[in-house]
Symmetry: C2
Subunit: 199 residues, 2 copies
């Protein structure tokens, strides 16, 4: 590995090791795999990365990741149905889209409010959300933030900002589909029992 001629490979390993969930060991394994599957995987991956590096950008309206200044969801007239779903991250938006049940638009915060990390409302685009509620004549804002302390704190802050201007809802809490009571935490069981409904 100290040899000059393979410093390209060393360089690739160092870069791969920076990916989330990868370390030096798994990066070496991945790079050897890539070199073995050069035509099938390495070249297409390099091309795809260049492509994404050139075209990917954040939607100026909602914060989603796409290939234009306004993402496909925001530019789709059919999705301007007066509903905005507020999520923490683009991954959360993708998770919602996989469920394919929500037909409105999104607002991606990019995190949660945090005094410690100096993340304020402006960093999360909350003023922009307030503007959108008026501009896009929104009827309902669905607060689909994570059921964590930080997520719920942020949800309460947003609710305060939008109070009286729009209907505010949040995702239902309860037993997940396929969930077994024995494996659920006390908080989930408590929430599910409190929100019980007629069978």
């Amino acid at each position: 590995m100290s040899d000059n001629s393979i410093s390209d490979i060393e360089n690739l390993i160092a870069l791969m090791a920076k990916l989330p969930g990868m370390g030096p060991r798994s990066a070496r394994r991945a790079v050897l795999h890539l070199i073995r599957k050069r035509g099938l995987l390495l070249t297409p991956l390099a091309d795809s990365m260049s492509q994404v590096a050139a075209t990917a950008r954040e939607c100026l309206n909602c914060g989603n990741v796409g290939t234009s200044d306004i993402c496909g969801i925001c530019s789709d007239e059919a999705r301007g149905n007066g509903e905005i779903c507020v999520v923490e991250t683009v991954s959360d938006l993708w998770a919602m889209e996989r469920a394919a049940v929500f037909k409105g638009r999104y607002h991606v915060l990019g995190g949660t409010l945090s005094a410690l990390d100096a993340v304020g409302p402006e960093d999360l685009g909350i003023p922009r959300l307030v503007d959108r509620v008026v501009g896009e004549s929104v009827r309902e804002v669905i607060l689909a933030l994570n059921a964590t302390v930080d997520g719920q704190t942020t949800a309460h802050y947003i609710a305060d900002q939008l109070e009286g201007q729009v209907q505010l809802t949040s995702l239902a809490q309860g037993v997940p589909i396929g969930g077994e009571l024995d494996y659920l935490d006390d908080g989930t069981i408590t929430a599910a029992l409190k929100a019980r409904k007629t069978f």
Copy 2:
């Protein structure tokens, strides 16, 4: 995700998910990380991959991965000291090189003999190893195969082929540095006790 304009990103996720140790979920996470760190990580990674795809090749002599037909180790005269270390994979070669204690050349088999998977001596370049022993006037062949059943079966086969032509050695077996007896398997303790030496 059903939108046409972000199919570049979907394509990149699908390719990343093919890496060893990655699944759809970790691939999505990695791709979002790459998009956030576009200038710092995504572009350099794409360039590095293109570079490696264009230049990486297997050494025709030893099977190591490098950027020329004969790798840096094989073309280094100083390493032609009459010792060849036989390893299963390029990762094993890299592990040996990190230890920086072996000053000879290598022979990478690329696997182990396996009747089930139809891997024969030719697939592992064993005839080429026999040729090298004569051609490079080798004194000693170190069988540094993994201490598994397959590895040791392959080591015995190679030893049979080279019997009488060269000195054959294998790595010592015993307690790893920093190892605690309580955590070692019976086989290792047995090997270490049998090979005990004067203190």
